[in-house]
Symmetry: D3
Subunit: 337 residues, 6 copies
């Protein structure tokens, strides 16, 4: 993969240090992240040109966000400036039986109020292998949904493959249309999506056929029939033993074959956020890197998602080598000198 | 003074440590403040019951704000919960020729979207000596302006004195009415305001009479004629030699006499924000404490404002004794064991 | 429960950050806590009016302590000022086989030197549901012991229920009398105590009857016979696998029935201190909340104690909802957005 | 100015926080900087494409350096990887009569051991307005000196203007040749240099003519005769009243006219390092921006150098607007909302 | 000077970071210091063997104190262990007109409760040039006063010179005797003291003779007559313009000649504590170093005291070279590379 | 054991806080350590006189290193000053499947460039029980190897026992000779070494005899035959389940008997570095303490190594009591008050 284009809102992430609860915090650690940019940045660590398209206010906090993304390798040249505010989300780190908490303050920001005509998708997408978005982007505002539709249409026209994490969040979608009205037209242009059973039900009204042994495969078969451009659907399965200890597996379906990985034992979780983005990023990267070998790619992607839990912040700052070692079974974490 | 009631928006204040610029910051120091609450808290340090009326979202960041205010002595029992967001302002600390910077993100928050019927002003104001607001409150939204008007009307009815910092900020006032339409009705109920010449011009169209020797007195005389409930008008005069070094004087006019203080030399400014609130708070407190002696009160209030520049955050966390020592000329800052 | 009154010493808690040993520390994190205030604060999070009675030096560190307690919702209006020093305890956080360490410097402080006449217990206890103390309070000084006796006597007179964590610490009790001389008169007024077998032996000379199957129940039966006002005795059982990993169960006895909970698996302990206080606080709260259903209350209290291990500092800053989720078996700690 | 190319070593800068002495430090703040890169980054803030050419070890600290530079807008695409170590300099912040201290550990690093053939100067310099280096680059190693010579020769060939801060540091120059042997050939290609009288004497043996009124002009006249490509020579004059308080002026000579600025009063110095780089960066930028008006450019450059003293780290992270305000006499540092 | 022995209490110093007030502090910076140890440590930086005699509790905080002192070069082999507590003092950093504040919690600690027989002064003082104490040591407890008397008697017997900072603090001296009863016997053995006019009055009832032009010289002449072992008396004169800005001069009297220094302008004070200890330490060191040249020694000592204001904590961590540069008039604080 | 002498390089250790990756770090925590000094310091905690011999640059960073070592009880009087640089190693803390990483920058430092004649081994080793070095010392430079040889020869001559951790690191050994040429002559003088099978193969070409049941014993038997001065060989066996979870056992062979310990379960690893040094230090100490009882000593040493994983930094800052508790089976980590 040479180039990926991602499109979506970037928020300032404010987290109390360590295991401090919000009400105890005197300082916040500052990062900036967003589901789509997280995907771009993960691939940028591995040499891909990752162009992220978004919109920030034209003040020093907006500039700080750009500089943060640039540091981690994102091509920020297509970021537009305008609007009033940078959105914020607050992340409190849980432990054992106490869950991590996220509070969002993301509406009416510079991304939500973007002007759908301000992005020249033909130029932006030129030469890209993939365009990636999530179900959050069209949920935020009408102009965001419209811009997203233009992007996927242009991608299809230019032969750029499209991937999406359909990611339905009920609390969003306040701008007038329902996800059921908007998402199908977007997924229609997708080559690959991350989708679980509940998303399929919520967004497309598709449920497993009774009698089918594997309910996810049953559902995804129908999803792929409904959206014939889809070549692959992916998902992860997380078992939450406690906030500090999860287990994670990956799965994929290509219309015929069901692929799955072994289970990663995630003790000592450092940061719970962003593993889904790490998964899709590594899948898109690995699918090319492993020459369309779905099983190896899925192993790689799931290992990447597992490693994400050891990195502070949303971004998956790990090397190809670190992921491959875990993907091929080395969980030892032996000191490297 | 036994009890003061203040009404206004509280924002989360996020500041990079030390002299770090926004684009360099990795952490923010968290405080919560607002012009009116700053006044309440300054007086609460000196034993006054200070009730602040505002509205926060009903989530852990909203609760954190309440707990922060409660720590510093505010009576938070009249705070209401509702709405979606806590407003934020970002403060960058300047030095020498580099100015301090403030970026606001305060619109559409839980205060702006308050329901003007949710405050029972009769109960809230009962037994209060003063009700205080600033020109920012009515600027934020229609319901805030309406609630403020009800508050001042109720105060007048109950014999509670009203003070205001008229504080015109052009960038606000986006909800449909102009300050010229709204502010006069509010100031009409005031006993005391902080007002400078440019405010008088912007808000009331009042300018100094040519020929009058002291232009501020000339203007304020007309302001007091226009608003006959006014007993006193106040102002401070700041000379900004650099971001690290200011000079500050106070002045007052009671319709007849013009009072002023000597100049405070503010080297080594620790925090530039909140000195205006410290000034009015100390004036309201001192006016009672010094049995209506305007000159002593003005000296006390200006010393309080001067000391505020040595305290981190918006709040004036100083003792009566510290203020009196400075007000009576001891600038030595001698080590106290 | 509407109101609880607690009485006891508050210390400044100084802890090196993270897993730093005392000799490595360059900074201390500052909190303020005490067994009884911890109980008050836990209930204050859940809407109870929690009045804590103590005594601090009248200087800025004493005031800082008051402000800290007020932040977390304690009613501090009955705190008295006097004496010379604020007591200190130093807490070093252990890991795996290295134990956490506490060093106390609590004698001769403002609480130990209180004047037993300075608290008007009739006024303080008016309208309270519970008065709570621990065995540490009478251990500290003669005047503290006398004040505690007056408090429990007044409580009984006013129909305020009394609870105590009998908590025998041999190293204290240096003021002349033994706990065996003092504690019985205090427990005599109690409706509920937390007491283990070794405490019963040390303080009251009561040991299990040989032949009784459950030695704790055997002992507590005798304790309840000796102190006929007691309606309930409680205890927790902790299995320490390592400093980072404990198991915890709760038990209760009402004179007839023995209640117990399942075991909480406490991996990844964030803070080891204060879980006993969290337990009794949640029991007092839950007993009313669950309308005297001992089993549900015990499940709730033990879950609260378990969650305490995930919160930095002594205070149990968790919501009713968080406790109930764990009490009813959800240990998943799933990310909450 | 559209594009600038800079060439030189980048070091990790490790500074104790605040005014801590080295022997007291428990943590270091990490930045990365170098005289030439500082110039590039200052101009990158103002929209210039700034390409920095250097060499880092191919490990995570080397990558961290690249990411740091990229954050601040440098084009890092011409950085090469190889060699063993990243150089370090330690900076201790002085105050009042106690001087700031710098300790260098910069030899034998990846830059010193560069291979002079690994930079394709024709491609790198294409389209550049300026190439900039300092006298430190050729001092570090033979291959660095050779690469620098190739760069200036290529620049001249391509019509790219060359600037240099001649900056003689006696402690360096350990690789075999003296600066007197190397520097003249480099300066021979320069259009503009920063040079003081002592540098002129040390490097070129040029001293003021006795009888000339202005000794710097006298010297620079001779320097410009010796190096006829020079169009401008610049210098700053610093008066060090204390480590916290300096005065700074700028001067320039174009062969005919002597330009100078007023004096900037630098109280409350935040960071003493990098003002010389800020000066030359702003001069190169301003010379184009002000259409070759030397006086305005010099005022702008000196104001930029003055503002640098208020910014932590080596980089001059200030806006054009901030510099212009100071350059045109506004030293007030008034709060900007 | 080869060896100095100092005797006195060491306290843990807890300071909020930056300019935070006590009530705002979430963390304390930890150091350990005491007037006499400060003297020892200042000389240890310059190669003197500095033995400090004190007593700590035998727990990890006591050991941390020892390790802290050892780091800064103190010979800690004569420190004894016993008693219960380490004393604490809290230091709040003032700015401009807001004074720095110190709150002490030093009574009943391991030093106050020392056993006067546990120090073998003959062995400890062997080979020492100076024994140094302050007026605080005998103020703390009877056994401390007795031990101090034994120390000075032994010193005199062994020919070890004795110096004292008489330093009268009224709030101390609670153990039964007055300073007027105790101090004369101690000063009687001194060769050199630091003493101001108010100390002379408070402790010895000596006041300037009316008519004498220089009141300090007048007083000290009488002091030297009263205590004929005294060879030199010293003092500093501080002018406190603000908490951030002081002026400092030194003076000395040898019975005949009055010596004084120019005034040091102390802008930008970093840490106000310990300059008196820095002064006496540098005097004792310099008196030998400059072969009894009182003027040069006084210049050196006053420069050392001036530099102390730039160093965080109580200790004067400066080099001989830094002090000499300032003592001979170089106040420039020029960057040292 | 009364006295131990250790010889080796000390590096500055720079670690990002918490689980931050290198590329995310804004600050480094600073410690100073080295394999041999770690051994000295561990024993110094337990009252042994530990003299460490090394060489630092004569500047404030070099002095800071000395002060750091002195704090932790090392006798630093034999440290020499000279050379240019202090070496650095960067440590990134791993978690779960992500390994910890170390990057070294240790060549050409003041230790590597030592002059082998500058250490007076006869004086230094006088009265020592043990001299200890590691295989890293001779790997660094020719003069280091020569000095090490002189040290072991002198030790043997003086009857000082010699221990070594043979510790072969392939990446070092760049000065011209191979470890196979150098190490045998050094080990020849050793009484005790830490050696694993791969070291035996790499350094001495010794491999287990086929047919021998225990391959380590088989190898070590041959090693002891080859180096007849050896009385004991030791090793640890680490099972790395993840970066956060290891298991550790100790083993020893005295030529006849094979000793081993049970397995320590190291969950929640705080710091992975230095456990090998903790092991040998505790063995040398315990061998004397337990009067040559190898099994008890091995249990003690392995428990010490296990506890090291709970302490930040390289040094094993644990008490004898803490080690003995674990060595005798108490893994509970119960809160110690």
């Amino acid at each position: 993969m040479k180039k990926i284009v991602t499109f979506g809102q970037i928020m300032m992430r404010l987290s109390p240090p360590g295991f401090s609860r919000f009400v105890q915090a005197h300082t916040f650690d500052i990062t900036y992240a967003g589901g789509e940019a997280n995907v771009g940045i993960a691939t940028a660590q591995w040499g891909v040109e990752a162009v992220h398209v978004t919109r920030f206010p034209d003040h020093d906090i907006g500039h700080a966000a750009v500089m943060y993304l640039r540091k981690y390798g994102l091509n920020t040249s297509e970021i537009r400036f305008g609007g009033d505010r940078i959105p914020v989300y607050y992340v409190e780190n849980g432990a054992n039986a106490r869950a991590s908490q996220v509070i969002y303050d993301r509406m009416n920001d510079s991304f939500c109020t973007l002007d759908e005509t301000e992005f020249d998708w033909e130029r932006i997408l030129k030469g890209a292998d993939w365009f990636h978005f999530t179900g959050i982007t069209p949920a935020l505002s009408e102009s965001a949904a419209n811009a997203c539709l233009k992007a996927v249409q242009t991608a299809r026209k230019l032969g750029v493959k499209v991937s999406a994490d359909v990611n339905y969040r009920k609390g969003l979608w306040q701008w007038g249309k329902t996800p059921q009205e908007i998402m199908p037209a977007l997924v229609d242009h997708c080559d690959l999506i991350v989708c679980g059973n509940s998303n399929a039900d919520d967004l497309f009204g598709i449920t497993p056929k009774s009698g089918d042994k594997n309910s996810w495969v049953s559902t995804m078969k129908q999803v792929m029939e409904r959206f014939p451009n889809l070549k692959l659907v992916l998902d992860t399965k997380r078992q939450s033993i406690s906030a500090s200890h999860n287990e994670l597996k990956g799965k994929a379906f290509d219309g015929n074959t069901y692929f799955k990985t072994g289970s990663h034992d995630l003790h000592h979780i450092v940061d719970r956020i962003g593993s889904g983005d790490a998964f899709i990023a590594a899948f898109l990267f690995g699918y090319d890197y492993y020459k369309n070998d779905v099983q190896r790619t899925l192993d790689f992607a799931t290992a990447a998602a597992a490693l994400k839990h050891t990195v502070e912040g949303d971004f998956n700052l790990v090397s190809i080598d670190e992921v491959e070692r875990l993907a091929t079974g080395d969980t030892s974490g032996k000191l490297s000198r």
